[in-house]
């Protein structure tokens, strides 16, 4: 089914009906998933409580492996968010119409991924009740965070990202919430009425709305590049072999978009199935996303080659030793798994049929997520395992506590997402309608109502 078919099938009234139908009392499958997610999250919270009670020793972090899985997962989640902003802001400015059916889900994914990522510096730092020490605030003893530390840059980069994404997201939701308000009754109607901010769809509201939306898109666009660049400085600013590289910013940004698109597919495909949105999320959309995954995968493979090449060409003994240790020592399995998932598996998308085959897309996306998690793992854990001085070499062994917290973070993300799709329109009513042919009485297209 292509876009032309979609235009023929979908109508303005149909969009309203198909989206509003998804908001409300969910079925048993939904509750079953919520139970699974809720229990996993409870296990994660229990593990975190245990970590706070026992201390950081419970996490398996020992010198030199002081970053381990928490920072790996932090970078992973920040990366996931980037595809959402790319779809919602960058593709908006480029007038890529295929974004309309997927951008709401992708944007929600961004917000929830950043909210998940934001937990990790707090979990990682240990005494979470002192988290506010990360913020520069006036205090009597003139104590300030170290502004030369990339950790503080992270605080600014990520809080900026969260605020801009959230505002952009809420502005986009307003006309859709108004559509929900108009169809709801009772208490729900009152809640949606407050959230719709008095939206009535008058011409003056639309003209201001569209200009404001353009502004937020323009504000969010540079963040796609800047936020993950700042996260990459956490590594690139350090002198650890394999980290201290100017390659890191584009390498991280590309990897972020790559993993983000995989996550979008993982979320969008079940939504399309359960909500019956086949006329809105068509093969054309899947094809476009698969192509973007393929392109970012090829660019990533190029960066991997550069990484190995510069280590060899630099002539630096420690750089060479670091790459050699990653590829052959105790973490070699993770290294080769990363190459397989990120550079080999996405090559399947050169095949046209694979780009629209739901099963292949889903499995490949899972591989991409595994590969991208291991990419960050390979930077952090084997990187720290083989430093300059053999005395500081050391292997990291995960514990039940930190593993449960990592798995719990996925549950937290899915809990937020599952909650969202049942109370808010997860397909943009307005934007999908806007690209449909307008209903005309004397026109070639019959839009219908």
């Amino acid at each position: 089914m292509n876009l032309r078919n979609r235009s023929a099938d979908a109508t303005w009234a149909g969009v309203n009906r198909d989206v509003i139908r998804t908001v409300g009392m969910p079925g048993n499958t939904y509750f079953a998933w919520m139970c699974v997610v809720g229990l996993t999250l409870a296990a994660g919270i229990a593990a975190w409580t245990w970590q706070i009670y026992v201390g950081m020793g419970a996490t398996g972090k020992r010198t030199p492996q002081m970053w381990a899985m928490y920072i790996t997962t932090f970078v992973f989640w920040i990366g996931i968010g980037h595809a959402g902003t790319l779809i919602s802001a960058v593709l908006y400015l480029f007038r890529a119409n295929w974004r309309t059916s997927i951008y709401r889900g992708a944007e929600a994914m961004t917000i929830f991924a950043v909210m998940t990522a934001g937990l990790f510096p707090l979990i990682h730092a240990g005494r979470v009740w002192f988290a506010y020490w990360l913020m520069p605030y006036p205090n009597q003893r003139y104590l300030w965070p170290n502004f030369k530390s990339p950790l503080v840059w992270d605080v600014f980069a990520i809080s900026t990202y969260l605020i801009i994404s959230l505002v952009f997201f809420i502005v986009g939701l307003v006309p859709d919430i108004a559509a929900l308000r108009d169809s709801a009754t009772g208490v729900k109607k009152r809640i949606y009425a407050v959230l719709a901010l008095g939206w009535e769809g008058s011409d003056s509201q639309w003209r201001h709305y569209r200009r404001a939306y353009g502004l937020f898109a323009a504000l969010a666009t540079p963040l796609v590049l800047s936020v993950h660049s700042v996260v990459s400085f956490d590594f690139a600013m350090a002198l650890v072999p394999g980290w201290h590289s100017t390659l890191f910013a584009p390498f991280f940004v590309d990897g972020a978009i790559f993993s983000g698109f995989a996550m979008v597919l993982i979320l969008i495909l079940p939504m399309r199935y359960y909500f019956g949105w086949y006329i809105y999320i068509t093969d054309k959309h899947l094809d476009a996303m698969a192509k973007l995954i393929l392109v970012t995968s090829l660019v990533l493979s190029y960066f991997y080659a550069c990484e190995v090449f510069t280590a060899w060409y630099s002539g630096d003994h420690f750089e060479r030793a670091s790459v050699f240790a990653k590829a052959t020592k105790q973490y070699a399995w993770a290294y080769w798994l990363m190459y397989f998932c990120n550079s080999v598996v996405p090559l399947v998308f050169f095949w046209k049929r694979a780009r629209t085959h739901v099963g292949i897309l889903y499995v490949a996306s899972i591989f991409v997520l595994i590969g991208m998690w291991f990419e960050r793992f390979n930077i952090i854990v084997p990187g720290l395992a083989h430093d300059f001085y053999p005395y500081t070499w050391g292997t990291y062994v995960p514990t039940l506590t930190d593993s449960a917290i990592i798995v719990g973070s996925f549950a937290w993300f899915f809990l937020l997402f599952l909650g969202f799709i049942r109370v808010m329109p997860s397909l943009s009513i307005v934007e999908v309608k806007a690209v449909l042919p307008h209903p005309l009485m004397h026109g070639a297209h019959g839009g219908g109502h």
Binding site: S202, W206, R210, L215, V430, K433, V435, P439, L440, M441
Partner: protein, 78 residues
């Protein structure tokens, strides 16, 4: 003094546009159009007699359309 207000409901974009233009010709200037989505043609027509949106002072750009591509240049300054 109470002001008389007339409300018209239209099902199609072309009939709405026709009504707006006809009303304008008859000398009605205080028009408000409610639409479920932004409609480029209606916006252009309405903006002919409107001052440019002040949101543009902040955004420093023309309107960003959600429609595929602007069919005609926006007549308003912004």
């Amino acid at each position: 003094m109470a002001t008389a207000t007339v409300l018209g409901v239209f099902a199609h974009v072309d009939t709405t546009l026709h009504a707006i233009r006809a009303l304008r010709q008859q000398g009605f200037s205080e028009l408000t159009v409610y639409t479920p989505v932004p409609v480029e043609e209606i916006e252009e027509d309405i903006e002919k007699v409107r001052p440019p949106s002040r949101v543009c002072l902040f955004t420093v750009r023309r309107s960003a359309s959600t429609a595929p591509a602007p069919r005609a240049p926006c007549s308003a300054a912004c």
